[in-house]
């Protein structure tokens, strides 16, 4: 019988030579006359082990990693096809503490299956949520999502069910109003990669989530707006969509239910601000990605002026498990108003970086130390930025903050998309603060003045603080910076200008000594 070997077809693994590993395994197996099947899964999330090669054995999936093509010959010699010992041996991968201590709902299948295979997807609960949804009324589907407590995982954390209900009830053109489901896959925040990982490792969960959303609100067309920095993701997504079509899950008559739904992937073009939902809609319409003032809400006047659900990838990919196991089951995880799980992403200067899905409530320290193993460099941790480029910088003293939307806000931060970027003692926080302003200046859509002009003035002011010749002059410039940040925060049209002050002011607050 053919031995199954798993090697991810995924950006991280590929960036570290996975394609060469696949080639080497195929060549070596042929040379040794061994019957192997190489399965292309997604990443299981432990980026520090990539490329992670797994072999299906009588004792479960045995892993080796990180593997380079140079190791392959030796692995064969060590009889890895039957789980033989080698210095890259990891044992049964599911038993590693990194995986064992996670609570995977959204990412339950990711890395376990051939990413785009409908059969593999169904073998682990895929499309059960859709079957359940097809038995329910629109209102009951929305109720299930409301019961789950799911809040938008893109960062704003708006309750998904309420958004859906607004779109479901919107019928400006009567019963046959054209509505859209738009998936925001413009994951531009540094330190975030969970959208990419689910799209590469379990893309059909996103397809199913969008389908269920379409059925719930009465939309027949969905768009996935994917950033152009993810070329491999584009290939995998399109393959998954084509497979779903072939199997009858997309098209004019889904599984004979009489309901129609179609999906299209549209590529972004390198603009960060297009991750903001109204700017994204403009871009999808083929225009400059400039922010639209709200109201009107996209839920009422969205894509091409029609009622539109705009949800982040993770929000949508979490819908199948909610419809499969029930909203109440999902709400059993987490605490307070932060219910369910969040796929946290550990990046930057971190020893064991990757994706950790856990219920809300563990502390930042548990995440960084227990899962992450501390800094990559081995130097002490100095700062952590949580929630992307618009999130606050926390000093080591705040590591015991629980990862929960409300607790993070209370501590002056933002949990956002759950991206965690670790910096060691080599970081200069005045430079990071300046970078936030610089980034805002480069990426501002230009629609509103506080963001367009404020970001450049912010850069100049930070330069003046650093170059100040006297304490008096420095304090004076600090007052200007604070005033500028308050103006940007309260008068910008969207989160780009409105939140850029967060990393800047948190750097000033916690690391003022760096500003000289």
């Amino acid at each position: 019988m053919s031995i199954r070997i798993y090697v991810p077809r995924e950006t991280t693994a590929s960036s570290l030579g996975a394609e060469l590993v696949v080639e080497a395994i195929a060549t070596e197996a042929k040379y040794r006359n061994l019957d192997v099947t190489i399965v292309r899964n997604g990443s299981r999330g432990a980026c520090f082990l990539e490329p992670l090669v797994e072999v299906e054995t009588a004792n479960g999936r045995v892993g080796y990693g990180p593997v380079t093509s140079d190791d392959v010959h030796e692995l064969f010699d060590a009889e890895f096809l039957t789980g033989g010992q080698h210095n890259l041996s990891l044992g049964n991968v599911s038993e590693l503490p990194w995986f064992k201590n996670q609570e995977r709902l959204t990412f339950a299948r990711c890395g376990l299956i051939a990413a785009t295979s409908v059969d593999d997807y169904k073998s682990l609960g895929g499309f059960v949520g859709l079957q359940n949804a097809l038995q329910k009324s629109s209102a009951d589907i929305v109720k299930e999502v409301l019961d789950s407590g799911l809040r938008g995982r893109g960062g704003a954390a708006f309750p998904t069910g309420i958004k859906w209900k607004t779109v479901m009830d919107a019928q400006p053109d009567g019963e046959h109003t054209q509505k859209y489901i738009v998936c925001n896959a413009d994951e531009g925040d540094s330190g975030t990669f969970s959208d990419r990982m689910i799209m590469e490792g379990d893309p059909l969960s996103l397809v199913e989530g969008m389908l269920i959303a379409g059925i719930a609100v009465g939309a027949t067309k969905g768009y996935i707006y994917l950033r152009s920095e993810y070329p491999l993701t584009q290939v995998i997504l399109n393959e998954a969509i084509a497979n779903a079509h072939k199997a009858g899950y997309l098209g004019a008559n889904i599984l004979g239910s009489g309901k129609a739904f179609d999906l299209e992937v549209r590529m972004g073009a390198g603009s960060y601000v297009c991750g903001e939902e109204t700017s994204l809609l403009e871009s999808l319409e083929g225009k400059r990605g400039e922010i639209r003032p709200k109201p009107p809400l996209p839920a009422l006047k969205g894509l091409f002026g029609k009622p539109t659900v705009v949800n982040n990838v993770i929000s949508l990919a979490t819908i199948p498990v909610i419809l499969e196991k029930g909203g109440k089951h999902y709400a059993n995880f987490g605490r307070g108003r932060s219910l369910g799980t969040l796929p946290f992403q550990l990046g930057g200067n971190i020893k064991h970086g990757g994706l950790v899905e856990k219920a809300f409530g563990l502390t930042l320290r548990q995440l960084i130390e227990d899962f992450g193993g501390g800094t990559y460099s081995g130097n002490p941790l100095r700062a952590v930025q949580v929630g992307g480029p618009l999130g606050a910088y926390f000093p080591a003293e705040l590591l015991d903050t629980p990862l929960d939307y409300e607790d993070f806000a209370k501590a002056g931060g933002m949990l956002g998309h759950g991206g965690v970027v670790v910096f060691d003692t080599s970081v200069n926080m005045a430079r990071m603060a300046r970078f936030s302003m610089e980034f805002c200046a480069a990426e501002s859509c230009g629609k509103c003045t506080p963001c367009r002009i404020g970001s450049t003035r912010g850069m100049e002011t930070i330069d003046r603080i650093v170059a100040a010749k006297s304490e008096h002059e420095r304090e004076y410039q600090h007052i200007i910076l604070k005033d500028l940040c308050e103006t940007m925060e309260s008068t910008s049209l969207c989160a780009m200008g409105g939140l850029t002050p967060m990393p800047v002011m948190s750097a000033v607050k916690h690391f003022k000594g760096d500003f000289q």
Partner: protein
């Protein structure tokens, strides 16, 4: 050893060919950006001469086409080198020394951002996040991302790419 792709082969711009490759998007709603991507994929850049044609195709003014093209970082106005190298400048890569890597890359290639090497092999651009933040610093060459890049591994990579380009000339 590193994974390397073949150098990009771009067609020479003609208005006829440009019209032909974007024609299929005429009836897709809001597909101007889709068409711009197609032009860039075909020619390596978006030629000024294609803009009036795009305006007619999508029923927008020439100024609007120009506005859209210039808004997005991806769209170039001049033909790039055989390989486009983008070095990540975002926070997670900064935490792993992307600043030093960027300086080394510029020095090795002898060019700054938005420039092309004299031999026509490499165009250098900044990029903000490639979504590989647990294996920083990162670069992307055309469609292939590379993680944990060092000045030394970058040198090896560009050497391999340059000889590949020479072999296919």
């Amino acid at each position: 050893m590193m994974q390397t792709a073949s150098p990009a082969t771009f067609r020479d711009f003609t208005l006829e060919l440009a019209t032909e490759v974007v024609e299929e998007f005429r009836d897709q709603p809001g597909a101007l950006i889709v068409a711009l991507h197609k032009l860039q994929e075909t020619f390596g850049y978006v030629d000024e001469a294609a803009m009036p044609m795009l305006g007619r195709l999508f029923n927008v003014s020439r100024a609007e086409v120009h506005g859209v093209t210039s808004f997005y970082h991806d769209f170039r106005r001049h033909k790039p080198g055989r390989y486009t190298v983008k070095v990540c400048q975002a926070e997670a890569c900064q935490a792993m020394g992307s600043e030093q890597l960027t300086a080394a890359v510029k020095q090795q290639l002898g060019i700054d951002f938005h420039e092309t090497t004299a031999d026509g092999n490499f165009t250098l651009e900044p990029v903000y996040c490639l979504g590989n933040c647990a294996c920083s610093p990162n670069i992307i060459v055309d469609k292939q991302t590379y993680g944990r890049v060092t000045p030394k591994s970058f040198q090896a990579l560009t050497n391999a790419l340059a000889s590949k380009a020479a072999g296919e000339k």
